[in-house]
């Protein structure tokens, strides 16, 4: 928590101790809190994952009863998506967007504080739902009815948590849009904005577009459960398939919400360490925008086995595959940026390159899932699990790690221990692949997801996967150690620790003072 403490208090005095963090409206404080919160949630979600993998280490039921196992998978998904990945990106946006566009703070500083403090409430709801009668929600992170229409109090707590997280995300998104559109320094035209800012602008628009729809869905679920409506209740004339349509109308844009800021981060890191401007900057902007728009018309690729006319299946199959095109073009742009650049391989760059490698694998398995006849086989198997962990862990999460190493010197004015950080990368890379690559085979061989037990022929690969997962989990504790070590007393970092960094934040001293850009910088 000492990230910015030593530099605060030049201008005005504010409460100290815990009250400082409760009442703060400073974008840096809030960004820091977002990041710590998301790391805490990452550990909770990670603990659940370890439980899942421990149970799956061997066939048979050893440590988790099936019902509890289902709660573990459900809450693992919810906590990682809404508690770890999304808040981490919002935290990065809080820190970096004002610094990168030359704004003194976020547009609505007070609202920023609220949107953060909603998160711990939601986090507590999710975690404590394990201890209420009936246990936590167990119907999967997608909470399909009828399972979510049954279930006990834990499901209600989950619904409220999703409401709160949705409200927080919407407020955060509104704040980010307004900051980016209205508070850029003079001369910072839209087309001069750093790619990270662009991707966040588009992400924020996606958030205000689909988060309210999610809020509507969970509200319908709540009224179905308690107020006698029958939106999804077949007995009352409702339709559980309707839920899936509305959920995925939110859900697919949501996966882009979790990857676009990662694209932005990688688009900052790659040029810095290739010492070349981003190849095709403006087409990247265009492609990001069109990915965002088109992501709203592919949702039913999650529902191929639910029952759909052939025309529908083909439509969603073609649309999904076509949207992979602008995504693929981005990969070529990053590669072209590195081409003949004078590259060096600092930790952020390692994570960025690891991202490109593994994200491509995840993208390909996505396209394979999009092919209807194949998906009918692999839907709800470990193949899908492998797909989305390749895009979310080695995609979104690796980008977040890269971003932390990239900006940590700016945030706390100290350099992380390079040796340890590189080791963190290599361990993550190896253990991640050990854990998840074999899951492709498990899925193709027919192992269903969300089950605590499996037949014997899956035993070997599951054991390998569990070993990889334990290694990956431990490696992340090591990450915590590296960050704390850096904050406590790393080497002093230069104002511009990466000589290839050309965005505005590198013109500031390290660590970034509590108040920055109170007089806007002028951009040539």
């Amino acid at each position: 928590m000492a990230v910015v403490q030593d530099v605060h208090g030049h201008h005005d005095h504010h409460p100290s101790g815990i009250m400082r963090w409760v009442t703060t409206t400073n974008h840096k404080d809030i960004g820091t809190m977002y990041l710590w919160f998301s790391f805490a949630m990452f550990l909770v979600g990670g603990f659940l994952a370890m439980g899942i993998r421990a149970e799956l280490f061997m066939p048979g039921i050893q440590i988790l009863e099936p019902e509890l196992f289902n709660s573990f998978t459900t809450l693992h998904g919810l906590i990682m998506v809404f508690g770890a990945i999304m808040p981490a990106f919002v935290g990065l946006a809080n820190w970096q967007v004002p610094l990168m566009i030359g704004a003194p703070d976020m547009a609505f500083a007070r609202m920023n504080n609220w949107s953060f403090w909603l998160l711990p409430v939601a986090g507590m709801l999710l975690v404590s739902s394990f201890f209420v009668p009936g246990g936590a929600a167990a119907g999967g992170w997608t909470f399909y009815p009828p399972l979510s229409a049954q279930g006990g109090m834990g499901v209600d707590m989950m619904i409220f948590a999703v409401h709160i997280l949705g409200a927080s995300s919407i407020m955060g998104a509104i704040n980010i849009i307004t900051t980016i559109l209205n508070m850029r320094a003079p001369g910072m035209t839209l087309m001069k904005m750093p790619m990270f800012v662009w991707t966040w602008l588009i992400t924020a628009y996606l958030l205000v577009l689909v988060m309210p729809v999610l809020a509507g869905t969970v509200t319908m679920l709540l009224t179905d459960r308690h107020f006698g409506t029958s939106f999804f209740n077949a007995a009352g004339g409702g339709d559980p398939v309707l839920f899936q349509h509305i959920f995925w109308f939110f859900g697919h844009p949501e996966v882009y919400i979790m990857i676009l800021p990662a694209f932005g981060i990688v688009s900052e890191i790659i040029p810095t360490f290739s010492r070349k401007p981003l190849f095709g900057y403006s087409s990247m902007v265009y492609a990001t925008a069109s990915i965002a728009i088109l992501s709203c018309i592919v949702w039913a690729h999650h529902m191929f086995t639910v029952g759909m006319p052939t025309v529908g299946q083909l439509f969603f199959m073609y649309a999904t595959m076509l949207i992979a095109v602008p995504t693929g073009v981005k990969v070529f742009n990053w590669t072209a940026t590195m081409w003949r650049g004078s590259m060096t391989f600092e930790t952020p760059m390692l994570f960025a390159i690891g991202f490109i490698f593994l994200f491509v694998i995840g993208g390909f398995s996505g396209v394979i899932c999009a092919i209807v006849p194949i998906d009918i086989q692999v839907q709800d198997t470990y193949y899908v699990i492998a797909h989305f962990h390749y895009v979310l862990v080695s995609g979104a999460l690796f980008a977040i790690f890269g971003a932390v190493y990239y900006w940590l010197p700016k945030w706390c004015g100290r350099m992380y221990d390079v040796k340890l950080a590189n080791m963190h990368f290599w361990l993550s890379m190896i253990f991640f692949n050990v854990a998840f690559f074999v899951q492709h085979f498990l899925g193709l061989a027919g192992m269903p997801r969300r089950i605590p037990d499996y037949s014997l022929q899956f035993a070997d690969f599951n054991m390998i996967s569990s070993i990889g997962a334990f290694g990956f989990g431990l490696t992340q504790l090591f990450f915590l150690y590296i960050v704390i070590k850096c904050i406590r007393g790393g080497e002093k970092a230069a104002d511009r620790p990466w000589e290839g960094g050309n965005t505005l934040e590198w013109t500031l001293p390290s660590p970034a003072p509590y108040h920055t850009f109170e007089t806007p910088p002028v951009i040539k």
């Binding site: 265009y286 439509f315 649309a319």
Partner: protein, 69 residues
């Protein structure tokens, strides 16, 4: 308030259509892009994008109809 470069002249519908089309692919020539950036206004892009999206959907639908018939 930040746009120092005022649009020189209004972009034609064709130019917007081209920009939108290329954006779906994710590539655009630098010169064309500079021209787009100068001439096309944001609301034109948004409207163009929406129309482009509808055309995209309709053409996939047509393709599907052809394939299934």
């Amino acid at each position: 308030m930040n746009n120092t470069e005022q649009p020189a002249e209004k972009a034609s519908a064709m130019q917007v259509a081209k920009a939108v089309f290329w954006s779906f692919l994710g590539i655009r020539k630098k010169d064309d892009l500079d021209r787009d950036a100068k001439m096309i206004k944001p609301h034109q892009v948004v409207i163009g994008g929406l129309i482009g999206g509808v055309i995209f959907v309709l053409s996939i639908l047509t393709l599907v109809k052809v394939v299934t018939s």
